[in-house]
Symmetry: D2
Subunit: 337 residues, 4 copies
């Protein structure tokens, strides 16, 4: 078959670099251009020495890219920037966006958390790229908005339970813990090694913008507190729910939903998912446990925030959009230890 | 004044070592003996090289210790062992126990989580050593059972709120995250650097024995899930509650309780406590935040699990038991970074 | 082509697990059996949960394996155990050993560091598996003894310089720093997270047994001090040498040797290799720098100790032994961050 | 006695914060002002939340400080800035400088590494503050220039050996490894958690400016390569030397020099110093080992870079300059684990 011609816009951030790592072993993709405006003219190895062993095109400015013949553009940009650039791309190019800009159909909800939206007109075209939930729509979409990392870890376990009416959707508390790559490669004091190492902290305690897309998908409000953990990759979400059925029924709803999914696994009864098991991979591991009070349950889910939480899910969506087997290029085992 | 003659029983564990570190700068304590049965005959520097710069007595077996003239024994032993040894000590010696054995007055509750209790007869003598709550009883106690690390971080914020009837005590969820020292110096595979590093995991998801003492102190059941964080020291507890008053009233209950406390601080409105701020110290920092759903609130508290969560609180209790200013030897600033 | 039928003996250690990770994406290998005597009967996921997403055979005892039709056995065992087991294998099976047992042709030198050798008779069959140096011999070998991790990082830069007579081989000092996986999955106190984290230490200061194979390959004695670094993977060796030529000539000797090698790269002048750039890969990055005193040079080399330093090089050697393209299954980009 | 009135100039960097931590438990010091020009007007807790439990003066601009009655100013500033500010201080104030500006008597040598020197006229007043070597001069000095962290770890073991003519001072190689706090609190990409974590790298391979002061003190050139280690605090220097005496004589030179020193300890024969043993303290631990080639020796020394390598040694020097017992305020035990 012909290779898919791909452009990565925003190659200098961590999600761009992870995407590049994944696409380099993808048998049906050819990387045609790497865009990184502020680093344009440099080699990617100047900013990511671990690509030194690979032959890759120089970093370009966006306007240096010839989009003729390009099949897909991955946008790995900060939110707000993303929408303006996507709006400017030729309509012949499929777009997989890793930012927040097109994740939320309700523009008012978007603007409450992120500020003004500058591409409202194309928002309706966008599909929320939580693969296992919206696969059929993703197949036909031109613009896929990949979910946030926290939302991926929260929605994958919750949506089947809500769909099965197995939990009270108005009593959900998600306590999430993320590695530091979740904050990107930005020069902020609290992200220095010396500041993040050997400590753990909560942030956005009164509300985090990733809530917005979860709220839209769940169709209700919930409680979400994220924490910063001194490790590079990984998210664990511990989710406290109230059951409307017995635990076995709830568990079955999860198992039924995911039994044939290649990347989402409900673990055996009692096994606790750990971030170690998904490092560097596109897997999401889930389990549900008896709560410590009658009628309650506790859910634990884990993903790699840069992979299933971002660039891996992006590749999974690309596979779907281009009629490739969904697991193509994504079947790595976790790196452990 | 005469110095307090102290014995540390169980000097080879982490709480024993932290206690020793603290007592070495305490101006009114003389360390008379260090007991570590399995390492008896060795120097403490053989098992903890960081004491190489200090002159200390050799490690002894318990039966080599002459308790005549000893004022206080700190027991830094695993639970179950602790009760047998404390039972055997002369009644003239005050006992500060860092294990779980004497924390719970309800023997049935104790035995549900820890197995048979072998010193039921002296349990009534024991006072639960959560200093800021039980100070008056600690003053007169012969046996003080210092709280567990998780319970300290959970009870200090919750008890004043329960006392003020500001929260619904039947709807409490505590999601706690601890550094690896909480598991002690035991040779277990999941505690290896290579296994704990670069990952986070939940454990005891369906129930952890530290719950027992919290349940007894709160007078009700609650939900508690602990997590293992790749750092040495520190606990952060994120606690989800439902308010029975408005937030300001709840906050005031906390502030009133702790306004004159040297070691428990309610931070300024909006400031999020981080474990960094208490590393190596006896402080507990607390804050309460508006919840993300009406009528809810989120509490964050942090301690150093080896210090306020264990050996620091033990010294604080000793100061009280011997009529010393409560802060003696404990006013270090956190080591950061 | 027919797949290579492979057995991993010693699947429960870190090198076994890394090898399994690599072979799972190798297109021409079928894993026929996983041997782990002390864990026989278990699933591999019982000891390595990150394999939960993969279908793999149960762990066996060695004597449960039918070696008929097996093409290659990888031995990932502690030294001494390795030699006895390899001796017992059918001669029709090619053997790739990751232990020290067959690395050293000079039995006396071996025994000085490792104790009695119990398979002296088959030692002459064994080829030292430093791929880029002994490729031709590896092609024809039945037993390949993969080099130690430290030696790989030291010999790859030094051997071409010695061959070109560019350095004084009697004045070599190698100061190496390794991640904790280098010590394996053994329950030792200094390998606990709490003991290895937040500190660095030298060990084997007066001599480390990995020296032996380096001495044999170099044909001379040298100085080698290893250090334990609080990270999982990676070795950096900083090597101090005295030049017998000018620096440019020395650099050229390295560049000439490795210019067509897929896995060993001499970086551009001035670029300093970092372990980050090789995490999870089979690459070795090298550079040579002007020394700080006239006539001196400093060499820096990095590898992933579990990969090029062990299981990756093993797969590279297997590819050679079975006439596959040498890079098959090994072209992953480093996982960063 | 009257308390020493102290000003900290540059309180917002790590050495300023560590100094503040130490002075807060010093019984004879009163902190009169904290200067941090770019943060002037803020509370120190705004930039270092771990000081939240302490009452401290607001941060000031330098020109807001009234130096009348001030006994000592600690300068914790970047080099170059330091010299200009020290030049401007009243001569009645003793100055303890933690920057490089006044460490080197040979102005040409200074300028080779650091650029133009703007306070040449007061350089002759300055004493190099390596306490155990220059104690007598420090006693009488107005300006003490505290050594760099790397130099402290290198010079303390080397100077007595050079003085005893026990080693060939023209054949010294120091391979040092430092925690990330050594780079200060600056926003640089390679200092981000995600970039420094899980990797080790060499830097300044062809020459580091800390060499300059070592060269002046040793009276000869040497080789020095520093490495960045993923931990907060600590330096280990592994130093390769050639003996001019036997090892026992060399060891005795070290032991004799330091036998009565409170903060520098030569460990028992065979014991390897580890950074863990000095974390948070003013100690330097040293040992010397038989080399791996005849006539060689290997030295290992460890310090806490922020403490003995900077702020601790500054306090030690202050004690000397004000005729206090040298150990005042500095006898903490290392924080471990």
């Amino acid at each position: 078959m012909n290779k898919i011609s791909a452009v990565i816009i925003g190659a200098s951030g961590y999600t761009g670099a992870e995407l590049l790592r994944l696409l380099l072993v993808h048998p049906h993709v050819e990387i045609k251009a790497l865009v990184a405006d502020s680093n344009a003219g440099k080699e990617i190895t100047d900013i990511y020495p671990h690509f030194a062993v690979t032959k890759l095109p120089k970093l370009l400015k966006l306007d240096e890219v010839d989009f003729k013949g390009i099949d897909v553009a991955f946008c790995c940009l900060p939110h707000a920037t993303s929408q303006k650039i996507i709006k400017s791309l030729p309509k012949t190019v499929k777009v997989i966006d890793l930012a927040a800009d097109f994740r939320i159909q309700d523009i008012a909800l978007y603007e409450k958390w992120y500020g003004e939206h500058f591409a409202k007109d194309i928002q309706p075209e966008a599909v929320y790229g939580l693969t296992e939930i919206h696969r059929e729509k993703i197949k036909k979409a031109r613009i896929v908005a990949c979910p946030g990392c926290y939302p991926t870890s929260i929605l994958l376990p919750l949506l089947p339970l809500v769909a099965a009416n197995a939990i009270d959707k108005d009593e959900i508390i998600a306590d999430s813990k993320s590695g530091v790559t979740g904050a990107g490669r930005s020069l902020k004091q609290h992200l220095l090694f010396t500041e993040a190492n050997e400590g753990v902290s909560a942030y956005s305690v009164t509300g985090h913008r990733h809530s917005a897309e979860v709220v839209e998908q769940l169709g209700t409000n919930f409680t979400f507190v994220p924490h910063l953990i001194p490790m590079n990759r990984g998210i664990i979400s511990t989710i406290y729910v109230k059951l409307k059925t017995d635990l076995a029924t709830a568990r079955k709803a999860l198992e039924d939903k995911y039994k044939n999914e290649p990347f989402v696994k409900v673990l055996a009864n009692g096994a606790i998912p750990a971030t170690h098991s998904v490092r560097g991979t596109n897997y999401c591991l889930i389990n549900i446990f008896e709560g410590q009070k009658p009628g309650n349950a506790t859910i634990v889910s884990v993903i790699d925030n840069l992979n299933k939480g971002s660039s891996g899910q992006a590749v999974q969506n690309m596979n779907i959009m281009f009629n490739l087997p969904e697991t193509t290029g994504l079947l790595e085992t976790a790196i452990f230890p």
